[in-house]
Amino acid sequence: MESRPGMSRKEFLKLSAAAGAGLALGASGLGAIVEMTKLSGSAAPSSPSSADPKDGIVPFYDKHQAGIVTPQQTYLYLAAFRVTTQSKSDLILMLKDWTKFCDLSAAGGTMKLSDSALVPPTDTGETLDLPPARLTVTFGFGPSFFGNGAFGLSKLTPRHLQDIPRMPRDNLDSSISGGDICAQVCADDQQVAFHAVRNLIRLSTGKASLKWMQEGFASGTPGKTPRNLFGFKDGTANQLHDSPAGYDQVVWAGSDEPEWMQGGSYLAYRKIQMKIESWDRTSLADQEATFGRKKVSGAAFGVSGEFDTFDAAKLPTDSHVRLAKQTGQLIHRRAYSYTDKVDPRTGNVDAGLLFISYQRNPDQQFLPMLRLMQSSDALNSYVAHVGSAMFACPAGLSAGRYIGQSILEA
């Protein structure tokens, strides 16, 4: 058999036997050659986009990236990488490997373990008997990615991308903020989600370095708004723009952006520590006044249903929901809760919210809202913003193309 340039015969054999729609990318560096080793249900591996969503497959290739307006899955890993290589071609190799891995994993496949018992398995293997679990991996690029002189991409910086400016009461830790590339990994099975982020980290070896990673969960009855750790519904207002036209208005970047960003979205992230112990010692009336909503029903003050139209003037002046309304802007919220260590001095649990929102224009939709909240929100007594980032998530991929190609080959 004739081998292709840059690819050993063995690798070629593996590739030609491989399934998956997007595998026709160039040869990869190391070990990232993928192959379907299991199928989910009767879904045809060569066209995951035609699969029945009931199989738990969210197509990786689409007009927009999955994981943005996709109904929220139960588990999240949010990982930010620093690009360490100075070589554009190495960076591209990594992004191709990531693309192949995501294509395959979203369809419920795993990388081929190995041809040889003498080398480490290509796939870590913990999803071998697990379903796709609506896995989505959403990629975004940070301001520092475009500022990196090695790649000369500054001209392609999208219009509204910047590190979130200083806000009142910020208590940010730079080691868990920012980053060149982020991957938002979501799935209904935590092991499926971790498998994806773990293998992205492995495939980045020598090219990028994991800067920080956060783990979150969001549990809600399907069709109902999930609650945060304060026990209040989080994301009620998403319903206001829940239509293709609404998403165009709120989420998807438009024609005033560089071509690669059109149909993409800005991911705004804040890690917000919640002082749950103090909150739990606060009266129900005070808790509800802090939000401006009823705890059980989620209804705003003055109305009876969660989704009822309400008059913001009837809410306490410093209440969270009133301030959010006051800016007159909509954002698409996709937050997860987190829990972490115990503070040995106080016995308090480090817990809170991994606030994530998507919007087409953060300067207009998000930053004014954030500034207003951090200066006036009644919730400020119970929260501290400790991590922060903004990433530009490109439009969706078509099969055969790789993540970031529209930026790197623009």
Binding site: R9, L30, T84, D115, S116, L118, V119, G206
Partner: protein, 382 residues
């Protein structure tokens, strides 16, 4: 320590079971490129020899700036044709690399060891002269590989001999109650042990006796070896009662030397050992756990890397034939690692682990990750 020993032995037995002949598929690049490469090799080697003559002059004058400048020049010349040499004369390549790298590294140091440099310069002249007269080998790659393993065995024997001699100097200082001298000799002895650690670990009970950390032992009152004396030197600041430990240490090291003398290695064991060295570096050295009291973890880490590189150099004949691209990547990963580490040499010594920032440790860790990732693929060629 026990854990890694078991892992190494287990891996070796797996390796021995799965014999996998692969010399039939793939072409012998080494032979094909020999003719076209010979002009490049002759030219490059003549140029290097001239530059080394100049280097010897500046060494004789103890001219540190001259050494630094020529160290870089010689390295540039070597880089311009080393890939061709590696392809055509893998065994000779290994010898040149062995003497060339320390000369280049010295150019990054703030303090030059002229005596060591003079030795390396002479070694490099000999290696290059051999290279000038070398004929492309007609040996098959498996024969080349066996020859390389023999060379690696010799390296292990040499390192163990040096370990024994240096440990003797160390224990003499301990028994003389000279704390400052003992501290200085401790650092030197550790280098030789750490460069062949997996081999030492393959002799079950000797490694724990020589190299156990307090946390590793079942019974703290039965703790012996380097780290026991390390604690006395750096924490207790007293050598009282250490003479017995010193005697035990040199006896155990001599027992190791005797075992190593009888050793025959398989290529697969050698490769597994290289991986083990990098894993050691990436776990106990990078965290500062190995040298808990003296904090000379970078010395150990560099020795682990060096031992691992020796293996890589040995298996080049097989890499050339089976996965040329991997050899190129390993070559550049080792270079990056060595350059990164050279930046932490101050006054001729590695800085203490405790002087490194988290970001610096992370950079070393990432580079080790890259190297390990590549090294983990090498076993496929055997």
């Amino acid at each position: 320590m026990f854990k890694s020993t078991v892992a190494l032995l287990a891996l070796s037995s797996v390796l021995a079971l799965s014999a996998c002949g692969n010399s039939s598929n793939g072409t012998n690049n080494g032979t094909n490129n020999a003719a076209s490469g010979s002009g490049v090799i002759q030219d490059g080697t003549s140029k290097m020899l001239e530059q080394i003559k100049q280097l010897q002059d500046v060494i004789a004058k103890q001219d540190a700036d001259g050494v630094k400048e020529l160290g870089k020049t010689i390295n540039d010349t070597w880089l311009s044709y080393e890939n061709t040499v590696r392809q055509t004369f893998p065994l000779e390549y290994t010898d040149v690399e062995k003497y060339e790298m320390p000369i280049f590294s010295a150019s990054a140091y703030d303090k030059i060891d002229f005596a060591a440099l003079a030795q390396n310069a002479q070694g490099l002249i000999d290696a290059l002269t051999t290279l000038q007269n070398a004929k492309p080998s007609t040996a098959s790659s498996s024969e080349l590989l066996l020859e390389a393993v023999k060379k690696y065995e010799q390296y292990v024997v040499d390192q163990t001999d040096k370990l024994t001699a240096q440990t003797q100097v160390f224990v003499d200082a301990v028994k003389a109650g000279d704390i400052d001298a003992a501290k200085a000799e401790y650092v030197k002895a550790r280098v030789f042990y750490e460069s062949i650690e997996p081999i030492a670990e393959s002799f079950g009970d000797l490694d724990p006796k020589i190299d156990a950390r307090l946390a590793d032992v079942d019974d703290p009152s039965a703790w012996t070896g380097f780290h026991e004396i390390e604690k006395a030197l750096w924490v207790d600041n007293s050598l009282a009662g250490q003479a017995a430990f010193a005697d035990q240490l040199i006896a155990d090291v001599k027992a190791l030397q005797a075992e190593v003398g009888k050793l025959t290695l398989e290529p697969k064991t050698v490769v597994a050992g290289a991986m083990e060295l990098l894993n050691e570096a990436a776990t106990s050295k990078i965290t500062g756990e190995e040298e808990l009291y003296s904090h000379i973890d970078l010395v150990d880490l560099a020795a682990n890397v060096d031992g691992s590189k020796t293996v890589y150099l040995s298996i080049i004949p097989a890499l050339n034939e089976n996965n040329n691209e991997l050899a190129d990547k390993l070559d550049s990963a080792f270079q990056s690692m060595e350059q990164l580490l050279a930046g932490y040499v101050k006054e001729g010594q590695y800085v203490l682990y405790t002087e490194l920032t988290t970001e610096q440790i992370r950079e070393i860790s990432d580079q080790l990750g890259t190297l390990s990732d590549l090294m983990s693929q090498t076993a496929a060629i055997l």
